[in-house]
Symmetry: C2
Subunit: 461 residues, 2 copies
């Protein structure tokens, strides 16, 4: 974690706000500064994330738990006194639930393996399968094999995810790997987890099957287990693994986006959108992914709700459903709200853990809008640098960004995010108050200023 | 980990040896110094521990894997050219193997729990049990309950183990807790793991049932799961848990101590004993517990074997079996070797992880033996302080210490030992070369000097 953000103390930094304020916006900046301070002092984001992960727990898309989480959030926004609160159901055609999952090396050194089924994996045949493995140190080595070369074998890919390389890794190895192995004859697919830890924790995450290709059971090994297989493969000609996965495919299930609004006092039809996703994988309680994000945007909006005067524009919080299985909620939102997207002034999402937020990147049509420089300075005083990367905002708001909604990225420190991501270890005890509090302070600052200031963020304006 | 041990670099420290040498022992000290340097440079202890944890894996007492480990060690000592190598079988009346183990909160917030059966636990009834829980923040709070107060309930003890408090914790909570809960009517027992981490890893370890008390299924919760239950208990009146454990009791099984000797050139009947235990719990691969110890004592003895001249006294390595279920190997050794214990000059065991060794404590009859001050100085140069605590040496040599065999404690840093201890996370990737190498250097130094110097360690001499 970058030390610079905490070393001087966040409260001291907040006081820099006023010194940086532009003429004419003193009052707005003062309110934003007070909101940031409240976000830190109240630790509200952490309290919300604790409630969600304790009283609901894991929230797999389409499950009863995800529904309970949506109702929990609805009740919470009602208690906060939001003006409009509603949920929008949508179908997810890949309903799924985890079953038993066990694996062991049966030869040459019998021992259990720590694995977890990839999200959406088909089950093994009843009783499991036991077969010779072929170990590939890289996915490319598997792709280089001819058809039929893995007939009857379990393909194991032990390639390590590089730090910062989640996207590059999860696409070819987790999403496409099983079908590529199946095309070559494999009867099951194991991969080294997409993770940066060395705990015996397997990282789940969605896989997909290519149309027309035999669907084979697919699971992730913990990093130490993948390393153990590598060592054994260096020493022994033959390794056999037994694998049992009993997930169930549930057909089409229903998920929900939960939407809550504070109606703007001056431009009620103009929306500042704060997003996070309410669903989580089932192994942990979804604390960093994405209970923290839910806590951050709910806390930020609650603090704005509590102001004596409502914001000028409408603050809309969207808690997206079914993110993990493929951004179903984010895509549905665009479909459902297409007609009003032109009135979405700006959108931001919190879905990269607990923070702290280190960089403010923009992905909008009019980067020279003068209000942006005011926001930039206000965020600087919270330890957030101005970045030059073009942001797509976050997974659930990428679809609206793709059709022209201006988005920004309040980019978080993720140096330890992929240690916990999609594992049983993603629990609330991993959240550090100072980190999530800074994130909440940044989000509330951004949301409030975006509502009150300029707002000519679109190229066409 | 105490910085002082590594900051100046172990190799520099080794060179201090000679400066500290007592007159008349220059050559012996020089050889010891070279042995220490070889231990560090060869990384032999780590290589041995890697081989054991890879080619054998977990080594539960009485299992085929423990037998394979004993044969592996026998072959290894043969390869090293040891003079006498033999194994000594003994019965263990508590044969056991783990089965399925699942648990979940069924009310009020359905979610899976990470648990593991305590070693020796009975299974749940087929299909598992589901019941209301009673949460106790301390074991004392459970003990304060009257008979019958837990009828039909699952008792959950969420007391946290203090750092350094393993013995105080595991006795009353892990060993005796299940019977105390059963006496009060409980139908199952869950405890917060005896561990210092906050991973979702449950720590197993032996439990025992009091004679005449109903035996109930007993398991450990990971620390975050115990915290989750605490939070839920603060918020909700009723919590229900479903528990399934399918371990099998196997009756009497056979374990083995493996003994390998380098015969002393001048006093072959006098034994310097180096111990470690070959068995491990079944969840991890037994790297820190006690693959590291096996690596350290095997490496130390191999380096002495490779000297041009054999040591004066006999170096005897004992790899004890069935330590984890209750020091069966250590107790059997005393029974079997009672007649020759008077010729055991001194014994030391490595069973506290990977090191580094920070303190040299003695538990012997004649602490003023002049050779001890030479050893103390030699160890000082490896970063080992002289301690004042009376040592019992280690779990497997405590029984011989109890009947008068002089022991020393080469006490290791254990600040992170109980993060991994008895969990699936106890794997070879957790071993840091510099740490285990220092331990091997300390053990070889001690073993060699103890063989060559004085040796009037007994009170009666």
């Amino acid at each position: 974690m970058p030390n610079s953000i905490f070393k001087p103390g966040i409260l001291c930094l907040i006081t820099l706000f006023l010194a940086l304020s532009s003429k004419g916006n003193e009052n707005t900046l003062e309110i934003a500064s007070e909101l940031a301070q409240q976000a830190v002092e109240s630790s509200l984001a952490l309290k919300i994330a604790t409630d969600l992960t304790t009283d609901i727990g894991p929230r797999l898309y389409g499950s009863e738990s995800e529904k309970r989480a949506v109702e929990w959030a609805r009740a919470r926004f009602e208690e906060y006194g939001f003006d409009n609160i509603w949920s929008e159901p949508f179908p997810v055609d890949r309903g799924w639930e985890r079953g038993l999952e066990t694996a062991s090396i049966t030869h040459p050194a019998p021992q259990n393996l720590v694995i977890t089924a990839l999200g959406g994996s088909v089950p093994t045949p009843e009783g499991g399968i036991e077969a010779e493995v072929v170990v590939f140190r890289t996915i490319q080595a598997l792709l280089d094999q001819p058809e039929g070369s893995l007939d009857g074998k379990i393909a194991v890919v032990t390639q390590a995810m590089e730090i910062g390389g989640y996207g590059r890794f999860s696409g070819p190895i987790r999403q496409n790997g099983p079908s590529e192995a199946a095309k070559r004859g494999a009867i099951a697919y194991l991969m080294r987890s997409a993770g940066t830890d060395n705990d015996r924790m397997a990282h789940t995450g969605v896989t997909s099957y290519q149309p027309g290709v035999r669907r084979i059971p697919a699971a992730a090994l913990s990093v130490p287990d993948a390393q153990q297989i590598d060592r054994l493969a260096n020493r022994h000609k033959s390794i056999r693994i037994k694998l049992l996965l009993t997930p169930k495919e549930l057909g089409t299930v229903t998920s929900h986006n939960l939407i809550a609004e504070i109606t703007g006092s001056q431009k009620p039809d103009e929306v500042i959108l704060l997003g996070a996703h309410i669903d989580s994988w089932d192994l942990g309680t979804g604390a960093i992914d994405d209970g923290a994000g839910v806590g951050v945007v709910m806390a930020a909006s609650k603090l704005i709700r509590d102001l004596p005067n409502p914001p000028k524009r409408t603050i809309r919080v969207v808690l997206f459903g079914a993110e993990e299985i493929g951004i179903y909620g984010g895509n549905y939102y665009v479909e459902k709200h297409r007609d009003e997207l032109s009135k979405h002034i700006i959108a931001v999402e919190a879905d990269a853990g607990q923070g702290p937020v280190h960089t403010f990147n923009i992905g909008i049509g009019n980067p020279l809008d003068p209000s942006l420089s005011i926001i930039r300075k206000a965020l600087e005083s919270l330890g957030v640098k101005a970045g030059r990367a073009k942001s797509r905002g976050g997974p659930d708001i990428a679809p609206m960004s793709n059709v022209g909604v201006p988005v920004v990225g309040l980019d978080m420190f993720t140096g330890d995010y992929f240690d916990l991501h999609h594992t049983a270890n993603d629990t609330i005890d991993k959240i550090v108050p100072e980190r999530i509090n800074q994130s909440a302070a940044v989000y509330v600052t951004f949301a409030y200023l975006a509502s009150e200031l300029g707002g000519y963020y679109r190229a066409e304006n």
